[in-house]
Symmetry: C2
Subunit: 243 residues, 2 copies
DNA sequence: ACACTAAGGTGTACGGCGTACACCTGTCAA
DNA sequence: TTGACAGGTGTACGCCGTACACCTTAGTGT
């Protein structure tokens, strides 16, 4: 009987419910107004209750990113890589537009969460499946990633596999296990990462020539501008390349 | 005599000293650790003293941006627009790399401060002086700006001239005066902005077709990727366009 | 039916934040 | 010398994230 009454009671909290509530609260009031206290209030719960489901606010934000990354359409099959990538990026953009706080949060994220890794892996997969070389795909990811998204940016700069521990603490063999896991979960990321570092000691090491990546994209854009300019391109008539 | 002792005393505060101290504190300890209280401590002063020189923390951050934008090299004269732009962007990048907090702060800035406007004006000037059309320059600024910088992004979306006031409050004729001021201070920005909106009612209005700008850049990149791919480009041998 | 256990929710408290407001103090012009 | 005003101070308020000890509830094995 007391259990019948319980039906009337507040639904039980869950990590998922917390994250979704956080996303819609941020949608409504902006990320600046999203506090643990306010979120708790929205869920009709005392602030500390949230900490049974997320470790702290950082993890909450990570979780929110996971939620919205999940809203991006999966890769479209059956077309050339270019159209597939185009569609996907536009879908991602739609999501980011809907959650206006996302760009800002993305910029500050440092941890690689599963949904993000999976998204990137599948993104890379579109190029590789289309026959684009691993080398070019690598640079392309830098160009697309850091400019459109912000959160690809650090993938190759810092270890892709989270290892907050100092290297000294990593037991021998653990690297190998992680490598194994990566190769199953995110084969494409691994391919890109290892190709980039094949003459380096570490496996998924710190690095990439940042300056090179930056100039790669810069020159790609500048060359594009120049081409349009020399064609007397005009926005009136068409998009790039069709002028 | 008491004045002789004053020589030994703490130097007087000034807006400039506050801003510079804030920049170097952020450089040292990161933006997350930059608080009014900590900054005051660094300046050997009580927290509230800072408020005699900056209105609030937002304005402090705006001021910090002003400071570092001032560190970007001026436009190089005597070369083609492409090289000039290239040099300038790389200079800007150097500055952003030196102040690691800058990207993040830039993303959250909403106000258009003079140094930023001046930088953009002169940036636009490089294209126009090189003979690039106003139309193309407009789109180019969107492409370069929002992707490399983040803070060009909103220039054409929100009014370039700060008007926190609701439109109703703006006395008639004030718009005209501002327009006049703009045309003197930032002629190039004005040119771009007005060209973009010549068939609209407002002068420096809200707008631009966001979606168009986004796809413009996306396609520019994708077309670039495709071209490199079809050339079997490789990072081993050269940068873009030289493969 | 009951006691046990772990997971989930609570209450209190602490140190930090930005900043409003009233107040002193030192400097300089008249 | 005086008076005004810019610049520095002290106190206080209401937010924030979250540590820690506690209580409640739901689900289990007997």
């Amino acid at each position: 009987m007391a259990q019948q009454i319980a039906v009337e009671r507040r639904m039980r909290l869950s990590r998922d419910r917390v994250l979704r509530a956080a996303v819609s609260l941020a949608d409504e009031v902006g990320i600046g107004q999203l506090s643990m206290r306010r979120l708790a209030q929205e869920l009709d719960v005392v602030p500390m209750a949230l900490y049974k489901h997320v470790a702290n606010k950082e993890e909450l934000l990570d979780g929110m990113v996971e939620v919205i990354v999940g809203e991006i359409d999966p890769a479209a099959g059956g077309t050339d890589w270019k159209s597939a990538v185009r569609l996907r990026v536009l879908s991602a953009r739609r999501v980011l537009q809907h959650h206006k706080w996302a760009r800002q949060v993305l910029e500050t994220r440092t941890k690689q969460t599963p949904a993000v890794l999976e998204y990137m892996d599948s993104f890379i997969g579109m190029f590789l499946a289309g026959g684009v070389s691993v080398d070019l795909t690598h640079h392309v990811m830098h160009a697309i990633g850091s400019r459109m998204w912000g959160f690809t940016q650090e993938l190759f700069d810092s270890p892709a596999i989270p290892d907050g521990e100092a290297q000294a603490e990593v037991p021998p063999g653990v690297q190998a296990v992680r490598f194994q896991q990566m190769s199953v979960l995110y084969p494409n990321i691994l391919q890109i990462a290892t190709a980039a570092r094949h003459d380096d000691d570490s496996v998924v090491g710190h690095g990439c020539d940042d300056q090179f990546e930056f100039e790669f994209t810069l020159d790609l854009l500048l060359d594009g501008f120049e081409r349009l300019h020399s064609q007397a391109w005009t926005s009136k008539h068409a998009g790039p390349e069709r002028g």
